[in-house]
């Protein structure tokens, strides 16, 4: 499966994932505390500069990641134009786009395995109720079973259309959920046979 990590190597790929996440938490909190539109515009310009240090292809990939925000930008923009509070609307939009873009930057420059390793480290205080090995196994199981279930969803849909002139719609949900429950039982047996989930 494809992850959101950028294949374009930037300097930020070499920074430790934990440090990037901590910096992101600090900056995002600061963004939501700052009210001045000028400071927010500065933050926005800084974010754009950060992307440009990764090169043009990297920045274009970053822009594509921001695309799902457009309905919100449109609604808030029109709303504040209509209410004649242009400065206030600009502050809200600059804050939102900068916060999302900075978080995307961390995701784009961190490998999935590094990010999961940070999560497992953060979960260590919970180890009496959630052993680290079990958490790692859960991550691996989900990642492995997504393509398996996608394939099966396709098979269920095909066998439906082979028998019925109508589209399957929600009815595929029953066999898909049932198969997930059966798989869960079988994988549990297989794990127990191999010494348990730790």
């Amino acid at each position: 499966m494809l992850t959101l990590t950028s294949p374009v190597e930037t300097w930020a790929h070499r920074l430790p994932a934990g440090g990037k996440l901590a910096a992101l938490a600090v900056v995002t909190t600061a963004l939501f505390l700052v009210g001045s539109p000028w400071l927010l515009a500065g933050a926005f310009a800084g974010t754009a500069f950060l992307y440009l240090t990764g090169g043009v292809a990297f920045s274009q990939a970053g822009l594509r990641q921001l695309w799902p925000l457009w309905p919100f930008v449109l609604i808030v923009g029109l709303w504040h134009l209509w209410a004649a509070e242009v400065v206030q609307g600009a502050a809200i939009l600059l804050r939102m786009v900068s916060a999302v873009a900075l978080a995307n930057f961390v995701t784009m420059t961190t490998r999935l395995s590094d990010m999961l390793a940070v999560f497992e480290r953060l979960a260590r205080p919970l180890s009496p109720i959630l052993p680290p090995r079990r958490l790692a196994l859960a991550f691996a199981l989900v990642i492995r079973f997504i393509p398996v279930m996608l394939d099966r969803m396709g098979l269920i849909r095909q066998s439906w259309t082979a028998r019925s002139p109508r589209a399957p719609r929600w009815r595929v949900m029953v066999p898909a959920t049932l198969a997930a429950l059966d798989d869960a039982d079988r994988v549990a047996e297989a794990l127990r046979a191999r010494g348990g989930a730790g």
């Binding site: 990641q65 919100f72 916060a99 995307n104 999560f119 859960a138 199981l141 279930m149 929600w170 949900m173």
Partner: protein
Amino acid sequence: MERNLTHIALFAALIAVLGLVPKLDLAAGVPITAQSLGIMLCGTVLGARRGALAVLLFLALVAAGLPLLSGGRGGIGVFAGPSVGFLVGFPVAAFVAGWVMERTTLSPAVAATAASVIGGIGVLYVFGIVGMALVLGKTLSEAAFLSFAFLPGDAVKAVIAGLVTQSLARMRPASLLSRA
């Protein structure tokens, strides 16, 4: 122990798969994705605790950088955007749906539909609306107005969650862990 773990993991995968299924496949004419249906099913099938853990596991993988949210979104950025409230509300919604399912003796279809409406719509929208109000700098009523565009789709999904849960209860009564 292993059974709990595998059920949680496989339902997390199911939520992801439902987000990747193309729109318009589930019901004619209503542009909905099935992802929140997965959240509802986690609660009504797995029960409160396991359902909420499955959703948390799914969200952890989204945050780690897998594009598993409907529309291929993912990464930490989605937790800074306007739909953050809905994401935070997902595990709570599954928990409440499971809790309702565990505490009633109604027939599975009625109980699961009610549980999905209470958890997957009522509780989820409270979180979603607060999150949207904070990120977009709007009042709660303005944010509520923006969120209600999704209400018809979610009502359809609550009914589907009820039908699917009922079918599972009929075909394999033991598989309904929320009633075990």
